[in-house]
Symmetry: C2
Subunit: 495 residues, 2 copies
Amino acid sequence: MKKESSYQSLVTTFQRLSRFSHLSSIASWDMFTMMPAGGSAARGEALAELSVLQHQILTDKKVAEWLRNAESEDLNDVEQANLREMTRHYQQAALLPESLVEAKSLAGSKCEHAWRTQRPANDWQGFSANLKEVVKLSREEARLRAEAKGCTPYDALLDIFEPDMTSARLDGLFGDLKSWLPDLLAQVVEKQAQQSFVPPQGPFPTAIQRELGLEAMKTLGFDFNAGRLDVSAHPFCGGVPEDVRITTRYDEEELLSALFGVIHETGHARYEQNLPRNWLGQPVALARSTAVHESQSLFFEMQLGRSNAFLTHLLPAVQERFGSQAAFTPENFIAWNQRVKPGYIRVDADEVSYPAHVVLRYEIERALINGEIEVDDIPALWDEKMQAWLGLSTKDNYRNGCMQDIHWTDGGFGYFPSYTLGAMYAAQLFSAAKTALPGLDAAIAQGDFSALFDWLRQNIWQHGSRFTTAQLIEQATGEDLNSRYFRDHLTARYL
Amino acid sequence: MKKESSYQSLVTTFQRLSRFSHLSSIASWDMFTMMPAGGSAARGEALAELSVLQHQILTDKKVAEWLRNAESEDLNDVEQANLREMTRHYQQAALLPESLVEAKSLAGSKCEHAWRTQRPANDWQGFSANLKEVVKLSREEARLRAEAKGCTPYDALLDIFEPDMTSARLDGLFGDLKSWLPDLLAQVVEKQAQQSFVPPQGPFPTAIQRELGLEAMKTLGFDFNAGRLDVSAHPFCGGVPEDVRITTRYDEEELLSALFGVIHETGHARYEQNLPRNWLGQPVALARSTAVHESQSLFFEMQLGRSNAFLTHLLPAVQERFGSQAAFTPENFIAWNQRVKPGYIRVDADEVSYPAHVVLRYEIERALINGEIEVDDIPALWDEKMQAWLGLSTKDNYRNGCMQDIHWTDGGFGYFPSYTLGAMYAAQLFSAAKTALPGLDAAIAQGDFSALFDWLRQNIWQHGSRFTTAQLIEQATGEDLNSRYFRDHLTARYL
Ligand SMILES: [Zn+2]
Ligand SMILES: [Zn+2]
């Protein structure tokens, strides 16, 4: 009997891990969409038990040995990429002592849980006490990862979400944004102050909003044989590539937030549904990164969904379900969906002011993790940056300031940049698609997205994690990430 | 540091197994209620991977050692019962070589999968070829279990579902049934032939049926903070004690099948929701047996649900939702819900003819597993027994004869007796409750079930698997299982 290669042993092990991830994904989806409150403690324990198991399997010393040996085995291109990703997953898991993983998970749960009531109570005092513990442990994590990687602590965390991204690179990209975005934003706000908008008149019954969402998903190519749409307090895209579960939430006074939420998650979903089928279960078949994932949702929601052509195509479906209103003239419908209105809350932000929210968080979390500031410094910095970017004061308004996001509560430092990286990737990809596909706008206005989606499938979806993000973007667009496309996009749409 | 006792090590291990069971239960529930078809293959693989893991943990040789050592440790009553149940679970899993488990699982999946199309096609030829393989492997399983237990092969399978039950005992119980039930059934049919029934007129919209079902669940004490009602092709009660998931299916032409399905599953659910909280996660906290579980659902559906008192209480809720109809006089509503109509299909049977379906299956599967008959003998035997019991011929009608159930397709021999054991336990329990609770009928007619449910909680639910079934029933009713109560119940209700 031929001895199994180390690579083959790894493939078997990661296949097994992926099956356990499947169960974890579905049980998590259920937790947010279906589970009654009384099931919460038992579910938490069950998921934690599974996660301990997954960690044990992944960090088994045989895995380390196989990874070493596989380096010198005869592997084709895809296998080499798979081995690179396996190594990355292994190192991410194995670098931290179990005691730290456990302590961080406990401190994170505690902080997040308390935050749910502290935020509405505007209780910075209570929150910051918990956050300090989370920051302490995240700094320890960052230090260990940074030592192994030879980089700054913050960059070591960034790498988890967007491999190969560095803060030096981000400083360049975001520095560029900072040089033109505040001006552009001011101009747009001034321009829109001249316009008059007619707001759509509710109520918009949930059942009909859901129908409209399902219709949009269908139009956008969501495969209902391999996924579902449900409701959750915070919309997300979960499940597994073979069965993608997206969610939204409905507000009967609001026509468009649920719908554009659905369109956003459909972008995530189509990426998942079109990951390379014959490598499924292997790390190389996973989505490239958080930012690339977000680029797909923003491609759907912002590049495509809020374009004049798409809104024109969408309007009849809206009228058919909600009757005719003064708000439903083509001009007003488009204008209403392209309103720019700087505000306190990131998740409610339009695409022009969104980067302000991200860059300020990036600057604060980087300084925090690198030990240049402390938790107590956050509120003043937040206020100062909000004033500078958006002219809004968050003094003593922690609830709508530095306490508004869940990310830091359980130590998710390094995640925020993905949102704006995603927006920039999306703009660059859309521009490349437009160049590659003459007549795209006309096709979109007629509801024909097939060429556009084929282009995404060929350039992004089908590659999974085969290439680095830089390679992926360069192959798709002919150059590395360039914030010019985002600027061009905002300028063209809003000025 | 004090060395952990073997018993304590077992507790930790079974706790862990229970957390994995939690995930398996929820993922299975999802599979039958939520999952789109495209997710099926990946889900199957994920569940199989988990089941391999659970089998490995349970049959680890350390477990055997702990079980041996714990025998001589100082344990209180509950711990001793828990150890007895742990040992039973271990032996059930460890007795079979893995090759047999795998072969049986493969043959079962193959047979079941093909059966889904073979049954509608009435294809006995195709089905029996697969069934022969399943029977061969089930016989092998029964032989190994019987050797270890020192009993007949069939009894060894019976013991999995109803511990300590034997076919000698069943022959006594079912023999008694055979001595009076055919006559009783004939008398009831003759009596009802004199009555005229007014059938309720549909359609009965699904949404309103669902409301009525939820209302019934509420009335019957279902805890919605720890469970849900959904839809599936075959109704079941799943999930975990902290989060019980029941299902039903709706037919808009049928007023009562969904509702009584819900009432049935609510009986299962309340048992699960009221298992002993402080032992949850341990085998001693599990429901006693398949038959005791069924006794609870039949207690709700048949003893309580189809009683004159309950139907009287239910009627206004039906009228409120579906208007007034000729069918909704108290007399007709009760008569309609107590119709007796012998037919081919077990799952559609009323409670008077149901035992015929069970006893004939019991006699056939026992002879099959003990090697007294072969698969090819089944159709003729089925026909003969159906003729004898219900006067119906199933000649060449495999679809509505021996191919109607899923149980045998994957080797679930030994399960069928649970249904009629459950009906008999339910009758005996209800009779004891009536004796213990004066004025019960009046309370039921007024929708006050609190005393009845307290009685069930104290006598059945809270004990989990602490006692053997015989002990449990004797403590609750003052005697061991006695089919007299079932006879008295049927006589009182139907003659
Ligand atoms: Zn997103
Ligand atoms: Zn049942």
